[in-house]
Structures are given as C-alpha cells and as structure tokens.
C-alpha cells in the first residue's frame, strides 16, 4: 500500500475518490477550499464551484437524489448560508450517499466568527464524524458515505483549521467499484417535503438517531485507549492529539462520531474514574450532553471556550503551568497581511478615505482596506451584507450623512449574496452607492473561478456574467464602469456617485494581479527619482508593499523586484518623481 504525506483536505478529497464519489460541489472558504481543488485530480469526479454554499448543497442534493455519491464542502459560516436546504435534507434522507464537509476555524485564523459547527449536527439532526488526523480524514470520509446510505441520512464531516491544513502520513486505498449506477427514480413520499410527507419523515429522523447511537457504541471509530487508569478523558478531533501529548498516562475515550454520542459507551467508561475530563475546542458540546446524562465531568471551567487549543494551552488549563507565547512586545513591529503590489483595490480605498466615505464593507481581499494607511472600512459583517447594511443605515441618517454611505463588495461576494441586497436597494428606493470591485476571481481564498471569471474549475471557458447588464436589469439606472488604475477618474466617479440621490453602482474592471490568465501586460517597474522626491510622503497613503520610506534620506524608495508597474503611485506624486525603469 502506498504511503504519502497529505493534508487533511487532500485526504478528504482522496477519501471521496476512494468512496466512489461522482459529483463534488463547493463554494470556497478557508480552511475548506483545497478539498474541492484536490478532487479535480480524479477525472471520475465532476467537480464545480457554485456561486454560494446554498447552491453547492442543492447541487449535491440533486446528484444524490439521482443516485450518485456526492461531496459538498464549505467553511463553518457557509453552513449558515446552506442551512435552509440542509434542515430539510435531513428529513428526505439520501439515495446516493451525501457527505457535507464543514471546516471550522477556531482562533479565527481567517474568518469573521468562531462558531462551532457541531451544534448544527444536533440542530439539524444530521450525524457528524470528526477526524483527528489525515488518515482518519480519509477513512471517515469513506465511512461517511457508507453510513449515509446505510442509515438514509446526510452525514457531516467536521474538520478544523489544524486538521485541514496539517499534513501527516496516509495509506492510500482503491476506488470503490460496485456502486449502483445513477438513474431517475421517483419517490415523492420521501422527496416532496409537503407537510403531510414531512410529518411522517420526522419520526424516521428521530428513530435514525437512536439507531445510530446504538450502532456507534460498537464501532471502532469510537475507541478506548488504556493508560494507567487514574484519570479518564473524553475527547474528539484534534483535541485528542493534544490530550495524548499533554496527558500520556490518561485513559482516553476517543470519539469519532461526535453526534449522536455513544451514550452507553460513555456511561461504561465514566464509571471507572473519579476524575473525568472532557477536552474539546470551542463550545461544551460533548460536555453538556455528558452532564445531561448525570455524569460529573471537568471541562470548560478549565479550558477556554474562546480560541483554539494547543498543547501549551491545554497544559495551562489543566495543570496551571504557564505556556510561553510568541513575542508580541511593541518593539517588534507587527506584520499584518497587505494587498499585493498593484492590487486593483488599493486606489479605490485611498479615494474612499479621501472622500471621507462611510464604507459598509464586505469580505474579500478588499477587507484589508480596513488597515492603515488606507483605513477606509467602517463595517464588515458577513458575505453580501455591505449592500443591505448601506440601505439600512441610510434610512436613519440626515440627507447629508446619507450621501457619505458607500457599500463596497467584491465580484464573488456580490454574486454570492450581494445581488439580493441590490434588488432591495432599487426596489425600496435607497439613494446609496455601491462599488463592485470586479477582479474576475474569488481572490481572498486563493483565486477560485466564479461566474465573472469566464472559466470553470476545470479551466474550460464558459459564459462570463455581464455585471453591467446584471445591475441594469435589476433596475439600477446609473452604472459606471471604472478603470481603478486611473486615480483622477476614480476620485471623480466616486464623488459624483456619492452625491447622487438615486441608487448607483460603480464597477471596477481590473483583474487580480495574481491571476496569470487575465493579467495586465508585462509592465516595467517604477523607481523614485530622488532629486525630484520632496519627501512629502503622499505616495505612502497608498500602502503599496513595494514602496518603503527611507528614513535616512527622507525619500521614498521602490523595491523593483516586487513592483508590477501599475503606476498608481505615480498619480499620487505632485512632483513627477516616479519614473519607469528602462
């Protein structure tokens, strides 16, 4: 058997392949994105990006109703978007197996909240597996498909950042071959969820959870590892690894199916210990259920609900032994991320700052426009929220203040859930301005294709949405197309549209710098002619990483290796000091 090093995400993709999956659908989101990207190496799988998580799940549901094993992946907050189909899918059950991978982000490495998706398993009554390393990620994915068909239920596979993005050694297997072929098969009593049908299905859902609970007590994914017998620990997922690291002598009940819990197994295990811990990240999900069984455990009073666990934090929580941390003292300047040199978003934020706009923001690379020196974002809630937020805040402001409100949103985010906000804006006659930063790609998550790209996940060409027409048919009368590398025009356009008393939309046209496919022509880098530079620092307001301040000479410098020659800085300089390299 071949052994390779795989990340959790690569292992899930491999597991889907080995399970015989035919269809995979997703919307990108860190830390889940690489799962779908990795399914593309298996030509047997039809893999595609959906415009949002709800559509991704609906596509998966469709192919599962057609009899195909189907994989759907998303980040934790994606489940909020997909929750509507999810809760009823729980009632219909499946035909081909369906596994929904949800990747949580404890510590918010790149997310807007720290929600614990295990609560969705309980809420939607969908069973959930949770792997602790890449080997389990592969195995639990396969197991998930088998269990999905055996119990006629969708299955959650929960990952976290440290599972998805950690690599460990995995043994590969072969693809399952003997699955029934997809076909049309009608079964209205099960698939048409009108009240009369759904009422009956609810009883099946409840029975299914009881059956799975019994089953889970005798499966090897829930197992006991003997230590010296003094203390017991119940744990799951990545927390298991930290327990083994910090408490090598403890007896451990490692849970692989975190919902429904194997209650009898827990009772039998718990009976052996005076001191029993539950070690889990985020919410007291296992702890509360175990306590509800009348078993006394130590959990969240020792281990924080906030942030991720680490070996040091676990040790600190349980044994009061302080753990060292990285040096965050002010003498060491922080190094936050920044937009790339030549990023088409940069000039727009510089001008929004200059116009003193109140920016209802959204999620994407452009959220970095919040950081200094651009400092031009006032709100950021969830994908698509910028437009509704602008409409709402404008309702309660004076006419003068209303004109300051600008919603800023990326192309992928606009098509995800922003478009509905724009319909509302026009329909209910808001005077706000919307800027769509159309860089033709979902950049933040590592550059995935979307309906504005003109390409699909498999790199084949497809129809590219005409954003201007789209805004016009929604009813926006004033749609301006803007080259964001033209700073004078950017300033003028933003000011004019802010002053307007009807809904208006500005669409920028430059692609993301990192997409080789539509990259701008190769341009020469610039340099600063020090004889002309007066040291006024106007160019520093851009925050381009290629420009640095030379404290000794009191002049700006450009790093030629990373400058891409977008010439935006040249337009900020009043002294013609920015020249093109020969």
């Amino acid at each position: 058997m071949q052994k390779v090093i795989l990340s959790g995400n690569e292992a899930i993709a491999r597991g889907a392949y080995e399970a015989g999956v035919l269809v995979a659908s997703a919307y990108p989101g860190t830390p889940s994105t690489e799962i779908l990207e990795n399914t593309t190496q298996y030509k047997e799988i039809d893999a595609s990006w959906a415009p949002n998580e709800k559509v991704a799940l609906e596509v998966g549901i469709g192919s599962c109703f057609g009899g195909a094993r189907s994989l759907v992946t998303m980040k934790h907050v994606g489940v909020n978007v997909a929750a509507d189909p999810l809760f009823t899918l729980s009632y219909t059950g499946v035909r081909g197996g369906l596994v929904l991978v949800v990747a949580d982000d404890p510590e918010l490495h790149s997310s807007q909240n720290e929600q614990d998706s295990r609560n969705y398993a309980k809420f939607s009554k969908v069973p959930m597996f949770e792997p602790a390393d890449s080997q389990e990620a592969l195995e639990f994915t396969k197991l998930g498909f088998d269990a999905s068909e055996q119990f006629d239920t969708p299955i959650f596979l929960r990952s976290t950042t440290r599972i998805s993005h950690s690599k460990s050694i995995v043994t590969l297997g072969d693809r399952k071959q003997d699955l029934p072929a997809p076909s049309l098969e009608r079964n209205a009593a099960k698939l048409v969820m009108l009240p009369g049908n759904a009422r009956k299905r609810h009883y099946d859902v409840e029975q299914r959870l009881l059956d799975m609970e019994d089953w889970a007590c005798n499966q090897s994914f829930n197992r006991i590892e003997k230590g010296t017998g003094k203390v017991g620990v119940i744990t799951a997922g990545v927390s298991y690894q930290y327990v083994k690291e910090v408490m090598p002598d403890a007896d451990v009940l490692k849970i692989g199916l975190v919902y429904p819990l194997p209650k009898q197994m827990i009772r039998d295990f718990a009976a052996n210990y005076e001191t029993l811990y539950v070690v889990e990240e985020l919410d007291p999900f296992i702890e509360e259920q175990v306590k509800a069984m009348g078993i006394n455990v130590i959990g969240k009073e020792k281990i924080s609900i906030c942030g991720e666990l680490t070996p040091g934090r676990l040790q600190q929580g349980l044994f009061d032994k302080a753990a060292p941390t990285e040096d965050n003292s002010p003498e060491l300047p922080p190094r936050p991320p920044n937009m790339c040199p030549g990023c088409p978003h940069r000039g727009v934020f510089m001008e929004l700052n200059r116009a003193k706009a109140y920016v209802t923001g959204d999620i994407g690379c452009y959220t970095l426009g919040f950081l200094p020196p651009l400092s031009a974002m006032d709100t950021c809630v969830c994908m698509g929220a910028s437009i509704g937020n602008a409409t709402g805040i404008s309702k309660v402001l004076s006419e003068e203040d209303q004109r300051k409100v600008v919603a800023v949103i990326g192309d992928s985010t606009f098509l995800h859930t922003g478009i509905n906000g724009l319909m509302d804006m026009v329909y209910n006659q808001s005077a706000s301005t919307v800027i769509i930063l159309d860089n033709r790609i979902t950049a933040m998550t590592g550059r995935q294709e979307n309906p504005t790209s003109g390409y699909m996940l498999n790199d084949l060409e497809t129809y590219r949405i005409d954003m201007e027409q789209l805004c016009k048919v929604v009813g926006v009368k004033h749609v301006k197309i803007l080259d964001p590398y033209d700073i004078k025009l950017t300033r003028k356009t933003i000011r004019e549209e802010m002053a307007r008393t009807e809904t208006s939309v500005i669409i920028t046209t430059r692609p993301c710098m990192l997409v080789p496919r539509d990259n701008m022509d190769k341009r020469m880098p610039l340099y600063v002619e020090h004889d002309k530079c007066t040291g006024c620092k106007a160019c520093l307001r851009l925050g381009c990483p290629a420009i640095t301040w030379d404290e000794e000479n009191k002049k700006s410098n450009i790093d030629k290796i990373i400058c891409v020659g977008c010439k935006v800085c040249q337009q900020t300089c009043g002294f013609d000091a920015f020249l093109e390299c020969e």
Binding site: H109, D133, P324, E326, D327, L332
Partner: protein
C-alpha cells in the same frame, strides 16, 4: 521522554517557507519516521508573518509544536526570528537568514526596524548560525532559491542521509529549476 524533534520555520509570506517545510517533511518520511507538519494558509499569505511546524520521530501526536519545545528555529527573516524565540527550548538552535524585510509600519516610516538583531539572537541562543541566504542564492543563479540554500544549511544539523535530501529535491522541485536548486542546496550546506 519522547524522541520527537521539533523544527519551527518562520518568515514572511512569499519567501518559499511552505516548499521548504514540504521538502523537510518528505525527507523525514523517506527516513522512516512519523511526520506531522502544520501551517496556516489564508490571510498570512499576503506578506504577513508565516510559520510552519514540522515534527518527526517514532510517533507524533500534536501537529502544533508544544510551546517552549522547539528544538530548531529555522528562520528566513531577522525580525520574524525574534518573534518566535520564546517558543524555543533552553539550548535550542537557531538558523537565521541574514535578511531584513520591512513590515508595513517600518515601510511607512512610523516605526524603526529593530537594531542588532543577530547579536540579540546569538546572545540568547549561542547555537545560532547566520546564513547569507540571498548572496548564496544569487551565486546559485536565482534569488528565489534562498529557501533551498537555507535547507542546505539546515541539512548538516540533522542526522539524515545526504542522499535523501537530493532525492526529495528531485521529487519536489520543478524540473527546469532543479539544477539551480541543487547548486543552491550545496552552497547552503557548505556555508558555515
């Protein structure tokens, strides 16, 4: 006491840290060890601070190195080295690329890049090796091979067959860049 060795890679997004940690992990797997490697993708890619944890030994559990148990801090930039020094164990080793990359507050003239960092690091950890990665990479023929130069410098500190490093580079570096990277590796290996 477990036999697990912990190497923390640190630097700035875009410096090739992830490839370096891939090669290192591959070498350890070929050497028959259990290996785990961990890093955060996402926000940190855009020029932010980046770390990668590599652990290997008989059996590795946590992919995050327990705080204070780093054996070797393998760092691509001076300021980033200092940030992670507290995570080293007593008598830990440091390999540091002699390079300063200005973070935004320094680039904007709001804060100074700290002085005398190499001295500071060597004072705290006498087992510090400073490598002029960029000079050697240029000598190899491509400034982007700094990560391979540094791997070369790391390789002499680890108890693994030379052949395995060459095998891993052959497997993981794109063919057209292989010769330059092999040269960079040798230059790093003989640097000190």
């Amino acid at each position: 006491m477990s036999d697990v060795k912990n190497i923390l890679l640190a630097g700035v997004g875009g410096q090739g840290i992830l490839l370096a940690s891939e090669v290192l992990s591959e070498v350890m797997m070929m050497d028959g060890k259990d290996v785990k490697k961990n890093e955060i993708h996402g926000m940190s890619q855009r020029g932010g601070s980046v770390t990668s944890h590599v652990r290997y030994g008989e059996k590795v559990y946590s992919s995050i190195i327990p705080e204070g148990e780093v054996d070797i801090l393998f760092s691509f930039e001076l300021l980033e080295t200092c940030r992670y020094l507290p995570l080293l164990r007593e008598n830990g080793q440091v390999i540091v690329n002699n390079l300063k990359i200005a973070p935004p507050s320094v680039a904007l003239g709001k804060q100074a890049y700290p002085e005398n960092l190499t001295e500071e690091i060597s004072k705290q950890f006498p087992a510090t090796t400073v490598v002029n990665g960029l000079d050697l990479a240029l000598e190899a023929g491509n400034p982007k091979t700094v990560n391979t130069v540094l791997l070369g410098a790391l390789s002499i500190m680890l108890d693994v067959d030379y052949e395995l490093w060459i095998k891993a580079l052959n497997k993981m570096v794109p063919a057209r860049l292989l010769d330059i990277n092999l040269k960079a590796f040798e230059l790093g290996r003989n640097a000190n």
